[in-house]
Amino acid sequence: MQLTTQHFIALLPLLITSATAVLVMLAIAWKRNHAMTFGLSVLGLNLALLSLIPALGVTPIEVTPLLLVDKFACYYMALVLASTLACVTLIHAYLGGESGKGYPGNREELYLLMLLSAAGGLVLVSAQHLAGLFIGLELLSVPTYGMIAYAFFNKRSLEAGIKYMVLSAAGSAFLLFGMALLYAESGSLSFAGIGAKLAADGLPSMLAQIGLGMMLIGLAFKLSLVPFHLWTPDVYEGAPAPVAAFLATASKVAVFAVLLRLYQISPVTAGGWLSELLTVIAIASILFGNLLALLQNNLKRLLGYSSIAHFGYLLVALIASKGLAVEAVGVYLATYVLTSLGAFGVITLMSTPYSGRDADALYEYRGLFWRRPYLTAVLTVMMLSLAGIPLTAGFIGKFYVVAAGVQSQQWWLLGALVLGSAIGVFYYLRVMVTLFMVEPNLRRHDAELHWAQRAGGMMLLFVALLAFFLGVYPQPLLELVQQAGLVAIAQ
């Protein structure tokens, strides 16, 4: 096919992100400078975000058979880029200022890895072809191994990196096998082609169903859905806090976006045992995620388990798949990203990478309100938002998911959702109360304040205000999401 200017414009966000990665790499090779690397990454990501505006003008457009840049893709690209941007800011606060103080090893490569991973995310959200999906997924995951193990002097971080690598590779293997089976059955690798072929056959064959099932397993690994969730708490705990934030936001958003596209286009999952399997996975994720989070005394593990539950809620909208469902996913993911960024951001600002472990034990947050009121306010809003209480963005997200569920009459899933969030409230409240408790002889484990911390702090305050604003006046977000429908279905 002929590549025209329009194709390049549509591809701008990806191109700029990749170019930034190359530039950052060259800059590191030329001269190591933390501030410069940070500046370059932020600049590149901002440009990529800006380039979404011209890209929106040419959508929907097919760029090679692999990628389809439509409004849906643009919306999720924006989410991925914005959360990457936030994570980069957090990394800067986390790694510390001048050399000698702060992180003991090389700092600059973490930015490089994150940019590469973000590029993978951008490919993933616009993939309309199994090859595109696989390339995107691997580009997203492989740098993550390095990022998780980045705090190499910390045993947990190394362990988490290896664990994630092994399990992720296993997930990819499942995914590949599933793709092969689907290809064998339908003779096509594009989503629409597979969908059309399977629809033409009437009832999809066993082989195709197994293929889709295996693909589902591969993606479920990345989304840490029960029973493929076992790595989540360990990896979240071991990874440096900003990397955990990236893992929880950008990475999961991209994978869920592609799952949504696949699910909406492929008719196999619309009925039959795969749909029931997905229902079971959703219910199990909601219940297990919440139950296992109940007794955690480590904030990162707690957030890990709660993310399992949150993706269970998201599956409710995915399974509903009609009416409000696509919108519900969009709204929920946006609010979830916002909230996770805030929560992990607070952990990041509390932590310093050179004192061994991150500040993630719950007792380290006891009475935080009396030392750092603004940080506490941010974390409180985030906990309320995760619990889905009004006046926060999380409430709007949950409301949408419940609406999608009610509209398609998924009563079992809704029952699980109600039960799950009742359990969830318990541990979110526990964290919240901890923040306000006054204890004699408080143990201090805070990172010192310097300007990078302050930049991170400003970003967090902005996130908290946005979470509050969207909770009170969600109309702008809803309009945005409404625009960002899937084009491929209409075609």
Binding site: P390, V425, Q482
Partner: protein, 509 residues
């Protein structure tokens, strides 16, 4: 334009309290007092000037004494729609009054983080006013859930530590989980209703007036009604769902208990009258006997359990369960007299329970225990407080001359015709009421004294609070007509909804 201000005033006042804390502890208290005074004043002004002869009734679009509408989330047909009728105005005045009292009664009790405390207090009351005004179902749910968070903080941070130091957080969490989970069930029901309406008309809306016209299959209506009922039943509290209440009361600070018993429980009764019955009249009619028997059970069970308590605040808490049982019976009786009685009972219970909790708080400040086994013989050791307690205990058992008597009497008279057995058994609640009220007075104030040192008497602030409540309660008992007039139209509407639904099967036969 006055309706949004009713909600905004507490919220703004709360923020001011929080921020002005840095200038000392007294300023937030005065700001809170002024805020609540303003709210109370506005409530009274609305009551005095409004025309409450019209109210929502079946068969026509609801007519309100005052209304306010503003687009909010157009995508889903949600608007900030506030409206006021007789029932709302009564509840808002009560909220304002008890708000003033909660500020006053925590004047000395709360000594740390005063500004943040008042922020939470104001926000609870703001949320409650929102619940009483909202006629958009999304907005109603929004306020319904929102008022839980400050209440949680109030109990968790300023509560009494209880026995082993952890219990106030336990109580606060339990309160939150119960109400939040049941609230989500209501959300599912609300959405179910909205989508049923959407399927019929193609219009996505959460507006009360539009949803009233929804036609539903009998089974759907029943299930949706149950969704609403469960949420209200937890807040009410109807007996199987009541277990959060005594814990929350026992650990909450005085102001929290006053708000909880005085107003928060009323939001449930209000919700039943405003939403559950009018939206689902047929299902409610079918469900009425069950609800009424649940009410009877609550009356007797609550009374028996209050008798068994040794903690004086738990005793008052369980007596609330018992008293609210009467309201439940009245709501489902489809009798206008009983419904009017329910309104009076709600007001009277608001006043008397608030007073009893304030007295418990005052007692606790002096003897530093809530265990009645540790008290005894207090009558001789301090002036005023025991006598005032005796008055409110008598009011709680429904002594003629107090508002409680009027309420319970009207409820029993009104519901006798349609449900004689329910009424007869409910009336035993009055007998039990006298038993636990008197045993409370006896255990705490009479009997052998544990010590003979004199306790400090009530200060003018404390005395004027409880005496003021006593005066209001007697006024309500002697001359309830203004209250009855104000709520008449609203209650007539509720009665017609349920009454016509109740009569339909009879006509069909």
């Amino acid at each position: 334009m006055i309706l949004p201000w009713l909600i905004l005033i507490p919220f703004i006042g709360g923020l001011l309290c929080w921020q002005l804390e840095r200038f000392g502890n007294t300023l937030p208290r005065w700001i809170a007092l002024l805020t609540m005074g303003l709210l109370f004043g506005l409530g009274l002004w609305l009551w005095a000037t409004g025309d409450f002869s019209l109210a929502p009734a079946p068969g026509a679009d609801p007519v309100w004494a005052a209304e306010f509408q503003l687009q909010w989330i157009e995508r889903l047909g949600i608007s900030v729609h506030l409206a006021l009728d007789g029932l709302s105005v009564l509840m808002i005045s009560l909220t304002g009054l008890l708000g003033v009292l909660s500020v006053l009664c925590s004047w000395n009790e709360i000594q740390n983080r005063v500004g943040f405390f008042h922020l939470n207090l104001m926000w609870i009351l703001g949320g409650v006013v929102g619940v009483f005004l909202a006629v958009d179902l999304f907005l109603f749910f929004f306020f319904w859930e929102m008022m839980l968070v400050p209440m949680f903080f109030l109990i968790a941070l300023w509560g009494h530590s209880g026995s082993d130091g952890k219990t106030r957080i336990y109580a606060a969490t339990k309160f939150f989980i119960f109400t939040q989970a049941s609230g989500l069930v209501m959300l599912v029901a609300i959405l179910g209703l909205v989508f049923v309406h959407f399927d019929q008309t193609g219009v996505l809306t959460f507006n009360y007036a539009d949803l009233l016209k929804t036609k539903m299959a009998a089974g759907t209506e029943y299930i949706l009604m149950l969704g609403f009922f469960i949420a209200f039943a937890v807040k009410f509290p109807v007996v199987p769902f009541h277990s959060w209440l005594p814990d929350a009361h026992a650990q909450a600070p005085t102001a929290g208990s006053v708000d909880l018993a005085g107003i928060l429980l009323k939001t449930a009764a209000y919700g039943l009258m405003r939403f559950a019955l009018p939206l689902f009249p047929n299902a409610s009619a079918e469900f009425a006997p069950i609800a009424q028997w649940l009410g009877v059970f609550a009356i007797i069970y609550g009374a028996l359990l209050s008798f068994a308590q040794t903690d004086i605040k738990r005793l008052v808490a369980f007596s609330s369960v018992s008293h609210m049982g009467f309201v439940l019976i009245a709501i489902y009786s489809a009798s206008e007299i009983a419904l009017q009685g329910a309104v009076v009972q709600m007001m009277a219970h608001g006043l008397s329970a608030a007073a009893l909790f304030i007295l418990c708080g005052q007692l606790y400040e002096r003897v530093h225990t809530r265990d009645m086994r540790e008290m005894g013989g207090i009558w001789a050791r301090m002036p005023w407080l025991p006598a005032v307690s005796l008055f409110f205990a008598a009011a709680a058992l429904g002594l003629p001359g107090t508002g409680n008597f009027v309420g319970e009497f009207l409820i029993l008279v009104g519901s006798f015709q349609s449900a004689p057995w329910v009424t007869v058994l409910a009336a035993t609640g009055l007998v039990f009421g006298s038993v636990y009220s008197l045993i409370m007075i006896h255990r705490a104030y009479f009997g052998p004294a544990k010590a003979d040192t004199a306790l400090p008497g009530l200060k003018p602030r404390e005395l004027s609070m409880v005496l003021g409540l006593a005066v209001l309660l007697i006024l309500l008992g002697v001359y309830p007509q203004p209250v009855l007039d104000t709520s008449a139209a609203s209650m007539q509407g509720v009665q017609q909804w349920l009454g016509s639904a109740l009569n339909q099967p009879v006509l069909a036969r």
